[in-house]
């Protein structure tokens, strides 16, 4: 029997995988993917709660998160392109001129 807990566990695992991707990948695009996964994990939570509570608000929330994720991705892609133009790389570890 699949309960809410299974869904939440999957979400938590996905979220942790997202975290790991952000931490381990140096590539800005991959980091972005990690962040998208984190948002997706949150969305699974929203939809699962929506179903279990019997209210649709959670689904609407999920929809808004998808929209926000899309907006973030658009800006992120622009920043990555700019970074490639200015710094010649998309490796975030190579961009550390600002420090201290």
């Amino acid at each position: 029997m699949i309960t809410l807990q299974e869904y939440l566990t999957v979400a938590a695992l996905l979220f942790s995988l997202g975290l790991l991707i952000v931490l381990f990948r140096n590539n800005a695009i991959s980091i972005l993917m990690g962040i998208e996964l984190m948002l997706n994990a949150a969305n699974i939570n929203f939809v699962a709660f929506s179903q279990s509570l019997g209210g649709l608000a959670g689904q609407v929330f999920a929809l808004f998160v998808i929209v926000a994720a899309a907006a973030e991705a658009a800006v992120a892609i622009a920043i990555i392109v700019l970074m490639y133009q200015n710094l010649g790389t998309t490796d975030v570890e190579k961009a550390k001129n600002l420090n201290g």
Binding site: A42, F46, I79
Partner: protein
């Protein structure tokens, strides 16, 4: 047949300050698309007028004590929100005033700058009005996304690109946590409305407290509390100075509104307070100590002000903790007053940096200011006022801001916290005075060729901004009554008198 869109004109009027700004932003974009003018001053003026309208609307609503909800309770326009409307619009106005000449010097004076600022500010205003989690989240995104772009606005500057990248990565990372927290809170309470959240603690405390923590982390990131502060100095240093001004004030002040509201309305019941308050006290201490300590070794003023802004977040956190502990609107009012003064003095300090920025180079290093007192006594005097106020020297505004916050914190029995705050304040005097020493007492390393201070960043807008901030820091320090009265009015709507 039920009406599909059961909202009326009153709802739109209710969110007028934000709506007005968004419309102005669209107008700017359209104007620029169809009538592209060489000078972008028209856009600047439209921005200023729109901000002014929202400002006056907020002020008027604040004095008239309007307190209503709109859009099915998604937003609540209460005096607390109005106060933040006023502070945010003021801060943004100051940032916009400082922008045109600097952007022209950097060859990136585009109308989009103003549109983005306006979108961001409209997000902030809705953010401070939000009564519901998803509204809060979307407003936060609307506020942040334009800023990611603004940081990289000088597009061929690698520092600014790097700053933007770091700010974005960390910002999106924090957003991920916050959304996850929102999901958990929604799951525990079954609703996104702040007022409904406490019942989540009863039904499923596990979800609730995890959610509370993650949502608060989102806020702590935005206000740059340690250890979520790492992006601040880098982003502040790399961003174009007017954008730094915007970030250090508006983008800094706005998150406090949502955080305070959430802390009091949703997490204000005693069980939750017992959990988050010690954590906040710890964070406040860390923030003050780390912010001030690292600022000591900085040589770049923008970076130093970045760390100092971290430290100031710590002081404000002290005020928030004190006001929740005392459950006193007066204490909360002192937080609002502090934010107001902070906006003024910080904007001024950045304004001076903009005033002396050159065509291809900023004047950011403290060493660049050597001899300013002799060469440009007025600018040096203004800078002196801002720095002294940031240090907290009476009778300037910064002193009273700290004084009020600390005295309420003592009243709340947070004496150890206040001791740390005062000690770190003293520490801060070292690096603020470094600026004054550089301006007045240090001899240029090469006496034959003292630094030439040309007002390349001069513009009427900027001068107006500097005069206003300097005047404000002095005037509202000596006569704190008006802002304090308004702040009390605002705070009383969140913490009703017992």
């Amino acid at each position: 047949m039920e009406s599909l869109i059961p909202v009326g004109l009153t709802d739109l009027q209710g969110v007028y300050p934000a709506l007005n700004l968004a419309v102005a932003g669209i107008v700017i974009l359209l104007l620029d698309a169809f009538f592209p003018m060489r000078s972008k001053l028209l856009s600047a003026w439209i921005t200023l007028i729109a901000l002014h309208l929202s400002f006056t609307c907020g002020l008027h609503r604040l004095t008239s004590g309007m307190d209503e909800t709109f859009f099915h309770g998604a937003v609540r326009m209460d005096p607390f929100t109005h106060a933040f409307t006023v502070i945010i619009c003021l801060a943004s106005t100051l940032a916009v005033l400082s922008a045109p000449k600097y952007l022209r010097l950097r060859d990136c004076h585009y109308a989009e700058y103003y549109a983005l600022i306006l979108f961001s500010v409209s997000g902030m205003l809705l953010f401070s009005a939000a009564e519901e989690l998803i509204m809060l989240f979307l407003a936060l995104e609307t506020m942040s996304i334009p800023v990611y772009c603004l940081v990289a606005f000088t597009r061929d500057n690698e520092y600014s690109t790097e700053a933007s990248m770091k700010y974005f990565v960390m910002g999106a990372f924090a957003t991920g946590f916050m959304v996850y927290g929102v999901a958990l809170l929604y799951g525990s309470a079954g609703s996104g409305y702040f007022a409904d959240l406490p019942r989540g603690a009863a039904s499923s405390p596990g979800l609730f407290y995890s959610g509370m923590t993650l949502v608060l982390i989102g806020f702590l990131f935005k206000i740059a509390a340690v250890p979520f502060n790492m992006w601040t100095p880098d982003a502040y240093e790399g961003a174009p100075t007017p954008v730094t001004t915007f970030m250090a004030e508006a983008v800094k002040a706005a998150p406090f509104s949502g955080m305070i509201k959430l802390l009091i309305v949703a997490f204000g019941f005693s069980q939750a307070v017992h959990l988050w308050m010690p954590a906040f006290i710890g964070i406040a201490i860390l923030t003050m100590v780390v912010g001030n300590m690292v600022a000591l070794v900085q040589t770049d003023m923008k970076r130093m002000l970045g760390y100092s802004s971290i430290a100031h977040s710590g002081y404000i956190l002290v005020g928030i903790v004190a006001s929740v502990k005392l459950n006193s609107s007066e204490a909360l009012a002192s937080v609002l007053y502090y934010l107001f003064i902070y906006v003024l003095m910080n904007a001024g300090a950045f304004g001076i940096l903009i005033l002396f920025s050159h065509k291809n180079k900023d004047t950011n290093a403290i060493d660049d200011l050597v001899g300013l007192g002799r060469e440009r006594p007025w600018a040096a005097a203004f800078m002196g006022i801002y720095t002294l106020s940031l240090t907290g020297i009476p009778p300037l505004g910064g002193f009273f801001g700290k004084f009020y916050i600390f005295s309420y914190a003592i009243k709340a029995g947070l004496t150890p916290l206040v001791i740390v705050a005062i000690l770190t304040s003293v520490m801060s005097a070292f690096y603020y005075l470094k600026i004054i020493v550089a301006m007045y007492f240090r001899e240029p390393s090469d006496p034959q060729h003292p630094a030439a201070f040309s007002y390349e960043g001069y513009s009427v807008f900027l001068i107006a901004m500097l005069c206003f901030t300097a005047f404000g820091v002095i005037y509202f320090g000596i006569f704190p009554k008006t802002p304090l009265t308004l702040a009390r009015l605002a705070a009383a709507s969140l913490i009703p008198a017992p």
